[in-house]
Amino acid sequence: MEEDQELERKMSGVKTSMAEGERKTALEMVQAAGTDRHCVTFVLHEEDHTLGNSLRYMIMKNPEVEFCGYTTTHPSESKINLRIQTRGALPAVESFQRGLTELMNVCQHVLDKFEASIKEYKDQKASRNEATF
């Protein structure tokens, strides 16, 4: 019988392109045996600091999250380990989902504001050009 401390890998990834024999799992979850759902490590494939750091920031802003950190396992492997520990009320998966959704909302807002600014700048330039004629 294994020790309680031994990690029990819970492979929950989506398998695509089975015909080519190639497994493109983008996301795995690893949970130590014995803990409940509030401490989980997510393995995100094909990702790096770009998503890792911004996601970590959004998840840390959640008051229910006690700990959130990410590492790149090795520079030649393109994957990150993101660990989330919550204070107990919220399952870690939900805080991960919430972090992703909030990051998407931030991006949407940045996009809207940016496009509005660009449009305003172009209009201003156009009207300034007209004024000189």
Binding site: S12, G13, V14, E20, E22, A26, L27, M29, L44, E47, D48, H49, T50, L51, N53, S54, L55, R56, Y57, M58, M60, K61, N62, P63, V93, F96, Q97, L100, T101, E102, L103, M104, N105, V106, C107, Q108, H109, V110, L111, K113, F114, E115, A116, S117, I118, E120, Y121, K122, K125
Partner: protein, 296 residues
């Protein structure tokens, strides 16, 4: 009073000391400071966030983003540099290369040439697909032969006079439309961005004859983004003994200056919009994965 000011400074400013930079990392997470509510609030973010365009022309853009954290601003910078899709030469089929430039060096140079084609109109090529279809590939032909100029003066030593076609430029690349591409893209719109990039040099008798496949991919794209401008802040004041004690240099933590320069394929404001959409796409991909997993 002083303590409150010190806390404010720690939260909002990056301080440039004489020998080092302090307060670099973001610390305003919930629970770190008593009396502050640091939980994420979308409305508060939207109220404080601002984008100001300083300067824009067809190849470069400079704008300020205020009210956003380093992590997210850096994510945009990283995506702009490496993950905005672009069309570039990937496969080079060499029929004849008797020039002094080796095949692989020539192929490497061709891969760096920016191609004027909107990557949003193309799909990614499927893995293992060798031929390429009209929806994911652009074909270019490069066929140049160098010959001696029979009309050159006898004692001339200028290569421009002596040889014909001795310099191979990007303007020698011709587009070979696949399928219905000729109808979709009017003549002259699909080409290298610059006509005058020197690819190779030849001498009489040497010839280059090759076919290039240009596909959509992510990778190095020459867009320089600099934020914040740490190097333009003058620190001369620290050399003056008397001023040193009186002056304190600090930077506002969440004010970022972006300076984007495009290779010419897409205008810089489109590049930034695409970069933001790439980040949204990543989030959406993981949200979909999570939903799919929770279904089982």
């Amino acid at each position: 009073m002083a303590a409150a000011q010190a806390v404010e400074e720690m939260r909002t400013r990056v301080v440039l000391g004489e020998f080092g930079v302090r307060n670099v990392h973001t610390t305003d997470f919930p629970g770190n400071y008593s009396g502050y509510d640091d939980a994420w609030d979308q409305d508060r973010f939207e109220k404080n966030f601002r984008v100001d365009v300083v300067h824009m022309d067809e190849n470069s853009l400079e704008f300020d983003m205020v009210g956003i954290d380093a992590a997210i601003a850096n994510a945009f910078r990283r995506i702009l540099l490496a993950e905005v899709p672009t069309m570039a030469v990937e496969k080079v089929l060499v029929y004849n290369n008797t020039s002094i430039v080796q095949d692989e060096i020539l192929a490497h140079r061709l891969g760096l040439i920016p191609i004027h084609a909107d990557p949003r109109l193309f799909e990614y090529r499927n893995q293992g697909d060798e031929e390429g279809t009209e929806i994911d590939t652009l074909q270019f032909r490069l066929q140049v032969r160098c010959t001696r100029n029979p009309h050159a003066a006898k004692d001339s030593s200028d290569p421009n006079e002596l040889y014909v076609n001795h310099k191979v430029y990007t303007r020698h690349m011709t587009w070979v439309p696949l399928g219905n591409q000729a109808d979709l893209f009017p003549e002259g719109t699909v080409r290298p961005v610059h006509d005058d990039i020197l690819i190779a040099q030849l001498r009489p008798g040497q010839e280059i004859d090759l076919l290039m496949h240009c596909v959509k991919g992510i990778g190095k794209k020459v867009a320089r983004v600099a934020n914040p401008r740490l190097d333009t802040f003058s620190r001369e004041v620290f050399r003056n003994e008397k001023l040193k004690k009186v002056v304190r240099l600090a930077r506002v933590r969440d004010h970022y200056i972006f300076s984007v320069e495009s290779t010419g394929v897409l205008p810089p404001d489109v590049l930034v919009s695409e970069a933001i959409k790439v980040l949204m796409g990543k989030c959406r991909q993981f949200l979909d994965e999570l939903d799919a997993v929770q279904m089982d």
